[in-house]
Subunit: 562 residues, 2 copies
Amino acid sequence: MKTNKQIKSDIEIAQAATLKPIQQFKEQLNILDEELELHGHYKAKISLDLMKRLEGQPDGKVVLVTAINPTPAGEGKSTVTVGLGQALNKLGKNAMIALREPSLGPTMGIKGGAAGGGYSQVLPMEEINLHFTGDIHAITTANNALAAFLDNHIHQGNDLQIDTRRIVWKRVLDLNDRALRQVVVGLGGPMQGVPREDGFDITVASEIMAVFCLATDLKDLKQRLAKIVVAYTFDQEPVTVADLGVEGALTLLLKDAIKPNLVQTIEHTPALIHGGPFANIAHGCNSVIATKMAQKLSDIVITEAGFGADLGAEKFLNIKSRFADIQPEAVVIVATIRALKMHGGVSKQELHMENIEALQAGLSNLQKHIETIQAFNLPFVVAINRFTSDTDQEVDALKAFCEKEGYAVALTEVWEKGGEGGLDLAEQVLQAMEQNTHSFKPLYDVSDTIPNKILKIAQTVYGAKAVEFSDKAKKQMAQYEALGWDNLPICMAKSPVSLSDDPTKLGRPTDFTITIREFKPSIGAGFLVALSGNIMTMPGLPKAPSALKMDVDEDGRALGLF
Amino acid sequence: MKTNKQIKSDIEIAQAATLKPIQQFKEQLNILDEELELHGHYKAKISLDLMKRLEGQPDGKVVLVTAINPTPAGEGKSTVTVGLGQALNKLGKNAMIALREPSLGPTMGIKGGAAGGGYSQVLPMEEINLHFTGDIHAITTANNALAAFLDNHIHQGNDLQIDTRRIVWKRVLDLNDRALRQVVVGLGGPMQGVPREDGFDITVASEIMAVFCLATDLKDLKQRLAKIVVAYTFDQEPVTVADLGVEGALTLLLKDAIKPNLVQTIEHTPALIHGGPFANIAHGCNSVIATKMAQKLSDIVITEAGFGADLGAEKFLNIKSRFADIQPEAVVIVATIRALKMHGGVSKQELHMENIEALQAGLSNLQKHIETIQAFNLPFVVAINRFTSDTDQEVDALKAFCEKEGYAVALTEVWEKGGEGGLDLAEQVLQAMEQNTHSFKPLYDVSDTIPNKILKIAQTVYGAKAVEFSDKAKKQMAQYEALGWDNLPICMAKSPVSLSDDPTKLGRPTDFTITIREFKPSIGAGFLVALSGNIMTMPGLPKAPSALKMDVDEDGRALGLF
């Protein structure tokens, strides 16, 4: 997060930094020559052969970074993740960072990078925020190749008896493009395919992105891809990728993308950036393969999950941890004075003004997320991500609250000072890891009923009193039971702004009901998405997109990017 | 081209080959460490800084490989290009190859690579034929970002007064997907954009691909992008990328793609593979930057142009040569016995049977292409690309024809024997280069009228007696004159199968008229596309796409690809 007194922008800081050639990390990380596939001077892919070679080695410990319910600008979770990794290295620890890959669509639309910020960013930020190593393009291609195979199957005689009114596979682009949300394809007569309604999502919302991030190796990737449901027949039977016979081709399209990407922070802490699924209709964490590889390459892996603890952390702990057997040793809960004041009722325009009363009212939101992490039996540290507009009195009030409750708390100034600004946090995280009782377990059993699993999440994580289901959702649950899909984890799609499903309810709402409007089965990923409210899966551009300021000079240097 | 007696497939030969790590080419080619950006072990991008450093160095000589009108399977032009490069190196010459990047769409649809074949292929062929270094994905993204900016402009108030019925910018995907040829976008009410008719082309048909391949540097790229016409206003005035203000952002999206890609052939001859525009609605040659870079890195550059000499070579010589001041020293005209028999009236099913009479009848097609190259005042060699079904009598008949007419001719067996099979061709090409009188010039002046320029091409290159224009084309020509667009080169879009615009007229048709149905202005690329007949810009998939056979093993090795 950028603080007000800073004059330099993220890109100015980034372009002034001196990076080490990425192959210089080989020795430090124990990567063989043939396992490191360079992409330019400062990015590399790491071959999955490394995982086979290091199979018997012990795994590094995982620290999960989450947050309170965010303001629209975000709370600087990635920045704290990067800063914490840097700080741990300053303390002599062998720490590594695992993050999601940013999507290009928002980069072109709304100012704001997704690789940390200030002196806690991952570099080269321009490349990470543009095409990076092409992983998202490979997923776009696999997703749309599947759509083309599907429409071609129908055009060529429709042997599978696919009902064109019941196709659930959408096309995707890694762009913000509202005009593609609802389209009609196949127009123009019998030579141009079969007309039907269709729509485009942004690529990070593709089930292939979720599959990619949960796969443990190429074989598992292919098996998951094969299970994706793309449509239903006239008899309402599911039609899968395996029915179309293209899981091999889709895996082939992803065979290089599946290798994690190695980069470095501004202080030369190594980072794997790989995969980036939405945190609402998907689980919102970087790839399982990258997290597990980082565990082989380092002693401590700092990773993050999207949005607040009610969405990202819940899904990290109930979905990713369960599938991949990754158990965090400690959790960092990022809070900002600004967001707490917002939860205490202050309007966006007045967030820069001191308001201790509102801050204290807003602490209820932090308190709820702390209780959530406690429900998973995990130790935690509250990280105050300081902005220059925060007054000492406000910071002291937040600290006093934590100290009174006995919560570990650390003030971090990682945007401005890099790892140096996160030393206290790093020390407290190390202490928290010591206190782990290793009694972590997911909140629910997958064998429980769908409504029970959702109720458990809604009550324990959101603080809801009940869950209601629309008629459509009820019908879908009955269908999923019949299909044997009911014993999967639940991926909740909910407003990230509130603990409830109503974005206007800030702080810690009570006495509310969560309404599940409908489900979306992600059988390849291995979960059922439960949708409460409308979830936008293809963003639009603002009136003046950030692209208008972007440029490149004659030497190929990016300008106007953040 | 695969010969019948070969048992190994292209991919088997490719995977059995031993490649040199690509950085080993640095010294040989005089590339500095910082100029070579590795992409894995066997691909690299070369920074445009190299062009500045070597600005004063002499340019290598260019040899253009073209062909007679092809059979649907192609005549092995890329294979001969690669084989010739290898053969020249065997003769101790410092030769390099410059080729187009293959499109993924056809790879997924119809069996057949686009990186040469047999023992004259460019490697690693799987990667070159799949995502390669992501250039085409970057072009897809830039193309579709522009479409999103355009639709967003209209949605946000349409200050430019764009007539949504007159939008000429289409979206693209690098896939064969007929269902996207004609679509309606913007459905779903006022929050989802403005409804309008739209369509998708395959990425290689994007004007951005043509712009990319004609740009001489980043600055020129941006200037060309700015000039692209995307729509017309209610007053029928053109609306450009510059009007939308996004040429900087589009250039930024292409800043890495614009760097040529270095790979090697199976015999370790260096090759630049970069850019791949269609040879009908665009000019069909690899990027100007790659050709010019290859000229700095070697003494002889072997390059090819798409389809037969009537399309690819004509456009290389009238468009690419003109814009980039690249003058070939000699031309290779690839002919196969099979294609000559087809031009002599033999059906596809009977092409494998000896038929001297048909062969001699088909020689008229070769003769016409020879006259075309002569019209440009360039020396040439006829390369007989031998297939195992060709009989000695047939080969002798073709040789006898060339010898009688005084045409240089060489039998090549580069698919089967690599460079060794192209030594005679290489020696004859070197002799032809010696004979160049350096009196090359384009066929027409750009200042001539549109109809005169087209007539010149149709008469001199196709052998047509006249050109007719539809009413629509006439109206467009009047409009272009008013807009000052009439003094641009012409990019002819015509059937590649025939010298005429009627694909059923094989051999050397006479007494025919070319009909220009309509024009498409490519103002960014800098030419007017003249369309005769229907040109497919979004292919479809066959009933059983080649993707059905594709797979990848657990070690990430591609299977079933060609």
